[in-house]
Symmetry: D2
């Protein structure tokens, strides 16, 4: 059951890094949605390796092939299968790893769990799997657009270079103008410099992605366990290399007082309710209140280094692991569309759930 | 579906703050477990209001009544229903709130979602519901003990008073010696002082709970979406007032390099694999590696103040909300057993999942 | 997970025959439904033992206590817990069975599965559990009434006494005028006579219940696996003592030709589509077509006899099982409200699912 | 959620009759299973069109391509994707149907549900989808073989030609010796004659498939809702054209007495418990008791005729539907592997569930 995500708008992904293909089956997308295949391809292009000098040079076009669920340009209500072929697999690159546990990868734990593993490029544990999520997320985003909901993520920190912003007013129009995907050009330049320095040393560095969701109606999210932010947290923590999640005031709220943190309600001239501040991050009691939802995701430094490291093999013998192959010195530039995709999947699912549960007062 | 948690070892909770009772049905606890009812009562006592001078003075015994699923002291495999009566409901305390939206509570969002709401003490959105989780979690903890798994949480921060510790070696034996539930007596005293100061001002303050899981075998957790830390994150984010989650190196990993962050493998004299450091927090690729699992949870300051606040009513009119009633100046001391309970439920579920999926190599 | 039924409108039941109480938690009932508690009690009264001379004389009032989810007479969207106390438990009646496997009961299989069992009255395997379903089903029926959907079941066969009817035109208004719950008074009398004869001999007899659902809109039911009739089948087969399910033309269709079986479409004067015949049973491709849905459920003869029977005990020794205690000579009269309840739960769930998935053509 | 089946050993199918491909993703198959791809192909060959003179002449090789989840011949624990290309699609055959509702097909109901539909060959409602289930079921069967569990289905009735057999002793070794798949050569010949007569008339006829499961350990199946036979019923009713399901004594039990129907327990010389009769069909209280499980499935006559039929179009106008194209005069010969596949999926899922829930008595 672990390769499925979502209750109503749900996805199942499959595929390994070095198998013939990866893909996703979307089950539960309503019928009648006009699908823009170019948009799917664009989101995949934002995630794909080889797109700039600061990401891994594995080179894959990542062309989405839609094999079902769409007829005459529209969703039919049947499951949508998107297949993405693996093209630039260099399995030989990994043959030296068949019996070695790479530090802070999933090699050891997969072996412990499954008794054996597909060692080629991490197999199922490879971040390659996230391409399938990006493809599915693009369809979720197109669905959400019908309801005026917009999801935007960007890089807000690389190492100690941090971009501080106001979630209500940040201008994200320039996010894709630089290879790092930080909307602030100066910070972006500093981040890129840091990433290049890491690459030179064969080392890696962590990062932070921030995401803002606008246009969300009040009422999405379910008490008690499926709070909107709880499902967002699970979605984000399920992305490779993620170590932390916070929304609204987040960890900073620990040092705040209630009198400072409470978001006071007010009504505008049109009679619409709003809050004067938004420490709640657009969610109260697990349910959206109509204000922008925003959250941060922490990514650890990539574990693949171009440096020699000590490790052990499956026989428990010490080995030296040579640093070679292709890698990302920092994962966050390519992870921006993944964060957007997972957020879109969560929101689409909750939108459909809310449609189902809709109260009977207007009946 | 939102009041259910877990796939195999699963719970469904019900009940409102000011109804006759709350409770939980546990579905999927294996048969043959000897249940210690006193331990359930003890965990409830750690969560219950009125237990010390620094928590809310609502006074409830929280006696667990087991109505099914246990026969002759052992679980039968049938669903276990634990009912907890509400005793000290002062609904009248809340009558002035029937039409008012309290800031940073769930009043407004519940109304938006459901069209009307049970305004008495927050109804379903009240943290009272978590008593049901604590009761269920106690049974999960007893189940896990059979496998040598131990879960321990404690308060590690209140406001700016922080207790820094080594997750591998922290001594938690004194956690319950003080009302704050911080294992360090000096920090505990400073935290308590801060909480008392908040109470005096009718204000509140945020806090942090840390949790450590020991004895976990390697192999628990499921790629891709149900990573062990993703399910822990969802469980924690589903607790009232939680704003953030991090595990292992967490947000600090953003500023770390891969060469520093990678946990190198080694083997001990007995041939057992271990990692020299544990930035991974005991989880790699979403699967436990046998090292201790540890994580932090951020709690915002409680929204109920004993201060007047501006707000609006359901007609959109401005009102002044009087600060009165009983409240917690800081939520973390009582939230420690809730964190433990939710962690136990996640681990019990994953333990059963792993039993189901167990690889066939030994067949 | 096995004590839960339904995806969106879902229930979890708990409780044993001779424990303190049984009950149900309904999760997913929309907010704003006015609940008629008397109707719940009436449905329970139709199922309860001791209601007539031809059913078991265990005597229980089966009063539903609603402990959550309803405020000021309306559902709030929170889970609804209905508790029903066990009153006339005579556990001593069963003490002689602690180590004996009753033929065609669940004693042996529960032992095989769980390692031990609650032998008092069958414990969890007792049909007593179905009272919880009837209570939940009553709320589902009230929900469906809002949409003009009506579910009616009745007894159509006891032993070889069969009531043949036209599902489109059968008059079910007199179903409850007799103890058997067959709408035809003459057939009802013959059935009752047969049941009385069985009772006299300490024997039991099988029966058939038919159910008709009217007012269902076209479009409910999900391809591929969750076809409307597939979910109805699972719901019915989950009722104690059920051995078979058929809908529409059912098993009789085996001997029919396509040219005879096909339901030709036509339009009435108002332009509404209908089918000239209804061998499809109101469902085509798993989805309702607007015609009445009808199906039959086969119940085996009750296994508890007032006759001595050979059996074995848990040590594998042969024993003679004395026939004593209270029992139903035929299960179908009391099973009518259970069939209605399970049907209502299936339809309510599919109605909410359809609301969620609704196509976007009108957006 | 409707295109997914199973809880732990679960499948998701996708694809339309006339799209580029159909397929299935298996999620939850344990790691370490050696997979025999030839066996998958053989089961597909038993289902495929064009295999004999009495089935539809659509001609497809139905080659299974495994795109993930298997490495070095063994399952890895990752999802297994099997893709089957559509080869002999003659979409033009269906262009005249774009606006017409074929009687007793899913055309009208899909339109009612989804607002539009893929009219080419029934799209998603086509029985072509079941090829994906057969492929997945073959892997489930291979998994079950490891535990000594064997599933065998065969045709036991076509029209009024019925093969009566003893489920404990029927010899099914000759099932595939004839095109009908009835183990009795004489009955098979009569059935084939009947099917040929139907084809000549452009008409169709219903049928019955019986299935026997041997080697099942006692203890599989979950009370209350997920009884083993309830899940089998749902699985079978989800197959295209199925109208009824019965297990053990089935509908015949209606006319039986308890004293006749009860299966008395006994022990054999080796001390093993068995029942002297098996009206229970190997399942008591929803749980397997170690005796053979057997059940029957009723299939209606195929709705596609080579005869002109009256119908209406989407504008509500009367039309005459010409009978042309390729069709099956009787569905049961090709449905035998589908019944086996769905049964295998149910049993594999329950086997894993039982492994998870296993009682703690031996701990």
């Amino acid at each position: 059951m672990s390769n499925r995500f979502g209750h109503i708008f749900s996805i199942t992904t499959y595929g390994e890094s070095h198998g013939p293909a990866i893909g996703v089956v979307i089950d539960g997308c309503p019928a009648g949605l006009s699908v823009d295949v170019d948009h799917i391809a664009q989101q995949l292009a934002r995630r794909r390796p080889g797109q700039s000098a600061i990401v891994t040079q594995r080179n894959e076009a990542d062309t989405p092939e839609i094999l079902s669920g769409i007829f005459e340009g529209k969703t039919t209500g049947a499951p949508i299968h998107i297949l993405i072929r693996n093209e630039d697999q260099k399995s030989a690159d990994y043959s030296h790893l068949a019996d070695t546990y790479r530090p802070s990868h999933a090699d050891y734990t997969y072996n412990a769990k499954y008794g054996h593993r597909d060692h080629r490029g991490g197999g199922r544990s490879s971040a390659r799997e996230t391409a399938a999520r990006v493809a599915a997320g693009a369809i979720a985003m197109q669905f959400l657009q019908k309801f005026g909901i917009l999801i935007t993520a960007f890089v807000s920190q690389v190492g100690s270079v941090r971009f501080i912003f106001d979630p209500e007013n940040v201008d994200t129009s320039k996010t894709d103008d630089n290879a790092v995907r930080c909307p602030d050009p100066e910070k972006a330049a500093a981040m890129e410099e840091l990433i290049r320095a890491m690459r030179k040393e064969g080392d890696t560095i962590g990062g932070r992605i921030s995401c803002i969701i606008k246009g969300l109606p009040a009422g999405l999210g379910e008490p008690v366990f499926d709070k909107l932010h709880a499902d967002l947290a699970k979605a984000m923590m399920g992305i490779n290399a993620v170590k932390g999640f916070e929304y609204g005031s987040g960890f900073a709220s620990i040092e705040m007082r209630g009198s400072q943190h409470n978001d006071l309600f007010d009504v505008d001239e049109a009679g619409l309710v709003f809050t004067k501040t938004n420490y709640s991050g657009g969610i109260q009691g697990g349910i959206s209140n109509g204000e922008p939802v925003y959250f941060d995701v922490a990514f650890k430094p990539v574990a693949t280094l171009i440096q020699d490291q000590e490790s052990i093999d499956s026989a428990g013998q010490k080995v030296v692991l040579e640093g070679k192959g292709r890698h990302d010195p920092c994962v966050v530039p390519r992870a921006v569309p993944i964060v957007e995709a997972m957020a879109a999947l969560v929101i689409a699912d909750h939108l459909l759930r809310q449609k189902a549960y809709e109260n009977l007062n207007n009946l």
